[in-house]
């Protein structure tokens, strides 16, 4: 069975044609020329279409069904956004065309910057970061630049909660900070006393997600901000969970200084099987001067790229960010309007609470109160009583045609399963999912092997990840087939 495009290759096949050349040929000096051709496949156009169509069918996308992947906000990706981003006036622009040729593109970027500032309460924005983690890195560098601009160079640490995404500590490290972890209290919130005892004049700030990764709002946020600010630190908002609070509460009003957003979560742009995303960063007034170069500005109705920014942290990538992703996000915001965004957050929260209420009889809910846009359940009962792990249950969900929720995260919940339905799912979908979850709880009791061996119905079943990591095979080799 042909598996890879390389297996379809046959000498002399080609899916491509160039116009006849009408100019002389130029030969590159042999000294600089390649010795051996790159072994690319030789295939026809139909080979290409069939191959990629057939492998695509082994994927699972949001358009196929429910994707309650906690922390990832797998909402519907509107098709209109795609159409708009494919307009030639956006996708066929060269990044170095002079400003007067691209006023529309600059306007779109400028408007998006303004809208994101309004949503977060901030005063300035950059669209340059290409993803959430890239935005975190940018934001933390801005915090460092701020401290250094005040000759405050003894701050070497960044505080991160024990429930944080792994990117938080990793991003703090990219800016050269040592990471210290603050624990969560028994309510699942940042332990205020622990924070107060850690926060000192050698600490640059605190990175926080709010609502946090347990889906709980940090109610003490004003107090947390005060503790950090009183010692001269800054507060970083990880926008991973912004989908819970659009139009309801704003990071700036909570006391945050820097925010990144994930347009591929909150603003409905597609995840693309792992990217491209987009991670704009918004900051309060006094941090604007540290934003990466250039910033899109406007003067007398003319848009321009401002490179003259001596305090800027520099660049984090070439050009201006994932512009076409930004176009999709802009289209989304304009489709929804202020009422729509608020209703999206309200419905996301309603949907999460509805699932939680529907499954709580069969699963432990470690923090049993209203959640925000997601909640974490624990499969510890199933594990202890029936030897069924959360992984087993997640894999069983595949058999029922769902993408499983995020599992074993945050690490502070044993056998955790983090469920985020998003607002674009209807009640019938949620009802079916609740029914299946409860059925799986029943299966755990009656037939644990069914779960240990799940999935049963997928194109491939559980994989041997140990061999993959011990003896990595990371590319196709011709010899394999001989």
């Amino acid at each position: 069975m042909a598996e890879l495009i390389f297996d379809l290759s046959k000498e002399g096949k080609c899916a491509f044609s160039l116009p006849q050349s009408q100019i002389p040929s130029y030969e590159i000096d042999e000294r600089y020329a390649r010795d051996e051709d790159a072994m690319l496949p030789e295939v026809t156009e139909v080979d290409v279409i069939r191959h990629f169509t057939n492998i695509s069918r082994k994927n699972y996308g949001v358009d196929q069904g429910f994707y309650p992947l906690g922390s990832c906000t797998m909402k519907y990706n509107p098709k209109l956004n795609e159409d708009v981003s494919k307009l030639q006036g956006f996708c066929a622009l060269h990044p170095y065309q002079p400003e007067y040729q691209v006023q529309g593109a600059l306007k779109a970027a400028y408007d998006l910057q303004q809208y994101l500032c309004e949503i977060t309460g901030m005063s300035g924005a950059t669209l340059q970061p290409a993803a959430g983690a890239h935005g975190e890195m940018t934001g933390i560098m801005i915090i460092k630049a701020y401290h250094e601009s005040r000759k405050d160079t003894k701050r070497t640490k960044m505080i991160v909660p024990d429930s944080a995404h792994g990117t938080n500590p990793a991003s703090a490290a990219t800016a050269g900070y040592d990471v210290v972890q603050v624990r969560s209290d028994d309510k699942g919130l940042v332990d205020i006393e622990a924070l107060a005892s850690m926060m000192d004049e050698e600490t640059a700030g605190l990175m926080l997600t709010n609502p946090n990764t347990l889906g709980l709002f940090e109610s003490n946020i004003k107090e947390i901000a005060k503790i950090v600010h009183d010692k001269g630190g800054l507060l970083y908002y990880d926008g991973a969970n912004l989908n819970a609070i659009m139009g309801i509460a704003r990071p700036f009003d909570m006391g945050f200084d820097v925010v990144h957003l994930n347009l591929h979560k909150t603003m409905s742009t597609p995840h693309g099987g792992g990217g491209p995303g987009s991670g704009p960063v918004c900051v309060k007034e006094e941090l604007i001067k540290f934003l990466p170069r250039p910033v899109v500005c406007k003067k007398n109705d003319i848009y321009y790229l401002d490179y003259d920014r001596k305090d800027s942290i520099g660049r984090v990538k070439a050009f201006y960010g994932n512009f076409l992703v930004c176009i999709k996000a802009l289209t989304y915001i304009l489709t929804m309007g202020p009422e729509g965004l608020k209703q999206a957050s309200e419905t996301a929260v309603l949907n999460a609470n509805y699932i939680m209420a529907g499954v709580k009889d069969n699963f432990i809910i470690p923090y049993d109160r209203f959640c925000m846009h997601e909640f974490v359940l624990s499969g510890n009962d199933q594990k202890e009583k029936y030897g069924v792990s959360t992984l087993d249950m997640a894999k069983r969900l595949l058999d029922y045609g769902y993408h499983p929720p995020t599992i074993y995260f945050p690490q502070i919940v044993h056998e955790g399963m983090m469920i985020e339905p998003t607002e674009t799912e209807n009640k019938e979908t949620l009802d079916k999912f609740i029914e299946v979850m409860n059925k799986i709880a029943q299966e755990a009791i009656e037939d644990s092997d069914l779960l240990h061996n799940a999935p049963h119905n997928t194109y491939v079943r559980r994989l041997d990840e140990v061999t993959a990591a011990r003896n990595p095979v990371l590319k196709w080799e011709k010899e394999q087939d001989l």
Partner: protein, 122 residues
């Protein structure tokens, strides 16, 4: 053989000592897929990172039980990291010199280590 709270073992043989991870440590890690071996000839203090051990879903650093110099890394583990799972007390990670033998006194005996594991479990 002596043990640390980070689940390393150290066994003195002549003027050198061998360092590895305990059976408990390998069980916690699961199937070990890769060992990032120590750089030979490196001089390290007690508690410094000696090397790292990776399984599919976790990675753990291994610390120097005592101060000393890395004489030899166990290159056999490059090809066969599973030996750490199969026989943790045979598959050493590094052969080292010991700067100050009195540092060994700070470490736990086998009985003390077993007690330590039990107290941790509670």
């Amino acid at each position: 053989m002596k043990f640390t709270k980070d689940h390393e073992w150290i066994k003195k043989e002549g003027k050198y000592a061998y360092v590895g991870i305990t059976d408990y440590a390998q069980q916690q890690l699961g199937d070990i897929v890769y060992v990032d071996l120590a750089e030979e000839d490196l001089v390290l203090q007690q508690g410094d990172v000696l090397c790292a051990v990776e399984s599919v879903k976790t990675a753990a650093e291994v610390f120097m039980p005592v101060s000393g110099r890395v004489i030899e890394a166990n290159h056999e583990l490059e090809e066969s990291p599973e030996k750490l799972n199969e026989n943790p007390y045979e598959a050493f990670l590094a052969k080292i010199t010991i700067d100050d033998e009195s540092e060994l006194d700070d470490l736990m005996t086998e009985d003390e280590y077993n007690e330590f594991l039990e107290s941790e479990a509670e």
